[in-house]
Symmetry: C2
Subunit: 397 residues, 2 copies
Amino acid sequence: VSRGRVAKLRTVLTDPILEFVETSDVIDLTWGHPGPDLLPVAEMRTAANQALDMYGPDALNYGASVGPAPILQWLRTHIGTIDSRAPADGELLITAGASQGLDLVCTMLTEPADTILVPAPTYHLALKIMRDHPLRIVPIETDAHGARTDAMADAILRLRRRGERPRAVYIIPTFGNPTSLSLIEQRRRDLVELAAGSDMLIIEDDVYRELVYDDVAPPSIWSMADAGSVIRLGSFSKTLSPGLRLGFLTANASIVDRLASGGLLDSGGGVNHFAALVAARFADQGGYLRHVTWLRAQLATRRDALVAGLLGGLPDAVFDRPSGGYFLWLRLPPGLTAQKLRPLAVTRGVDYLPGEVFGIDEIVEDDTLRLSFSLYPPERLAEGARRLSQTISDSIS
Amino acid sequence: VSRGRVAKLRTVLTDPILEFVETSDVIDLTWGHPGPDLLPVAEMRTAANQALDMYGPDALNYGASVGPAPILQWLRTHIGTIDSRAPADGELLITAGASQGLDLVCTMLTEPADTILVPAPTYHLALKIMRDHPLRIVPIETDAHGARTDAMADAILRLRRRGERPRAVYIIPTFGNPTSLSLIEQRRRDLVELAAGSDMLIIEDDVYRELVYDDVAPPSIWSMADAGSVIRLGSFSKTLSPGLRLGFLTANASIVDRLASGGLLDSGGGVNHFAALVAARFADQGGYLRHVTWLRAQLATRRDALVAGLLGGLPDAVFDRPSGGYFLWLRLPPGLTAQKLRPLAVTRGVDYLPGEVFGIDEIVEDDTLRLSFSLYPPERLAEGARRLSQTISDSIS
C-alpha cells in the first residue's frame, strides 16, 4: 500500500535524500509530492538568512509551545483571508505538518480503541496514523457531494445502540485526497449539527484549501462551527515546502491549550521552532502570497495538461475535473479494475495508485485510480495521460 | 509542575517567541535551556545557505523517512567516536528531538496501559509524554550509583506474580536529568541482562553524552547490548540548537524499520528534513566538533562557577560535582524542604526546581533541588549561588 516502503527497500544500500527517488523512465503519478521546480529554493534561502539575522539566538532556542509569535501573528491574519473566519488569540497552534497535528490530536484527545468515523475513500496514511494509536475506524459512504451525512447519522445510531459513541470524525472536505471533491455546504452544516448532537470532534484535514484553481475554496467546517467541536489541520507542505515540516491547526482555545500542555510540546517547546521563524520571514511583505499565486497557476496548468491528455486519449473518460488540490480521480470503463491494470500500465511507462488503496473495509472501489498532477511538468503529465489512455483503450478493445 | 505552563499563562496576551521569557531580575535556575550566547547563530546561517545551495529543491521536498543521507552518513561515523559502537546500516533514525523520539516509540512500540519501569528521580516531562499515551509508570529506586537494578528485578518479579510484565524501562543513565549522575558499568550490564530475561525494551535517553567535562562519558547501554533490546535517544538540542528540533535514535534495524513504517513518518516523510540537512552541513568539515568542543568548555566554566559559588556560601553543601550534563542536584540541610524554601529564594532573587518535581509516586525527595547551569553566564551563576546559599543559611540559623 505504502509507496514509501517500496522506495526505502529499493534504496536501502544507498541512503536517499528524499522519500521519492526516480529510478526509471516510468511516469510515476502515485506521489502527492510537489515537483522540484515548484519549490522556492532562493526565497527560502533569503528567509532563513533573515530569520537568523532578525531573531539571532532566539531562532535556535526552545520555542514557545504553541509556536513563535511572528508566525502566529501572520497566520491569524492570513487565515482570515483564505477562510471565512480568522482564529482569535489562543485558537492557533503550530504543528510539524498536518500529519504531526493529527498524530498529536490522536495522542492527546482520544483514548485507545476509541471509534472514529472516516468517509471513504480517504487519505490512506492518515488512517495509518489513527490506527497506530490505536483507534478503531468506522467507514462512512461517500457520493458525488462528498461524505454522506445520512450514513454518518446511521452509523452514530448503530454505535449508540451498542452503548458506544464515536469520539471523532476525520474528514478532508475541501479538494480531498484522493478524489479532489469538496463536501457541499449543506452537508458541512449537517456535519456540524451531528457532531454537536453526539459530542463528537470533527478533525478537518484542510491542507489543500489554498491550491484552488477555479472559483474559491468553500468555507472550512471550522469556520462554520461555533461550538468549538472542530480541529482544522492546515499545512505549509502544499503551499511552501514539505521538507520544512511545518503546519498549524485551529481549534477553540481549550483544545489548543490541551494539545500544547501535553508532554511532547511541554518538553521540546514548539514542535518546529526554527522552521516556523523561517516561514514567518518568507511570509513577510507578501512573499508567501506571491509564491502561492504563482504556484496555483503552475498547478492549474498541470491539472489542465493531465485533463486534456486523458480526454484526448479517452473521450469517454469518467472523472470530475479537479478544481483544487493535487489529484485526479479516474473511474475505469466497466470490466477493468485498477489493481489488475497496473502492471500493464507500468510496462507502458506510467504508474498510479489504485483506488482501493484509499478504501476502508468493505467500502472499496476497485474500478477507480488516483493520478497526482503535482510532481511532473505539463508535458510529462500529457505524456503520462497518453500512455495511460492507451493502456486503458487497449484493455477494453 | 511544568514551567512552560507558567510562561505561557504569563505571556498569553503578548505572544512570546521562546518557551522561556525572562520577566524579572530573578536568576532562574529552573530551565534546562542553553544560554543565548551558546547558540551558533552565524555558523547555522552558513549551514542553512550551504544546505539550500548544495541540495536545492531536495532540501525542501518530502525527505526519506529514516532521515536524509548526509546526516545519516555523518552520524554513523560520529556516534562511533562518542560511544563504543557505531550504528550499522539501518540502525539509525532521525527524529525531531529526543522528546519526539520518545513519543514515537510510545506510539509505535507500546500498547496503551503497558507498564514501564522508571528509575526516580527522572526527567518529569518524559513521564508526561509516557503518560499521554497512556503508559502506566512503576517507579524504581535509585542510589548514588544510579538506578537500583536489584529493585528493578524485584519490581519485575512482583509484576510477574500478577501475570504482568513491564514492556520497557526508561532511563537516563549518562549525566541524567535531574541528578547528572551516571549509572555505573556493572548496573548497565545488570540492566541489559534483566531486559533480555524479561523481553523488556530499554529506552535509553542519552542526550547529555557529549556534554562531558571531566574524563569521558561511559559507553551507552545500547553499545553494550547485542540482543537489540535497547533504543537509544540522542539529540542535537543540547549540542547544536534546541530550536532545530532535531535528534536521532539508534536501535536494531527491525525496530528502526517499525518506527519508520508508522503512519507519521510514512505520511510526512522524515520528521525534520530541512533541519537535518542544515545540521549535516553544519557538521561537515569539522564544524560540529569545533562547536561542541567550545561549548563543552563554556559549560564546564559555568559548572565550576556554580559549584564554587555554592561551596563559597555553604561550605557543607551536599552535592556531587556534575561531571557532565546541565544540572546540579543539591541536598538541603536537615529540616528544610525545597518546596517550602522556594518562595523565600524567589524573593531573594533566585529560583530552582524542587526535587519532588522529578519524583514518581512515593519515590519523592523533598529535601533536594535541581539547579541548571546551562542558561546563565558564569558571573550570574555565581551570583545565583550566592543568593541561594544566603537563603539556605538564613533558613537554618
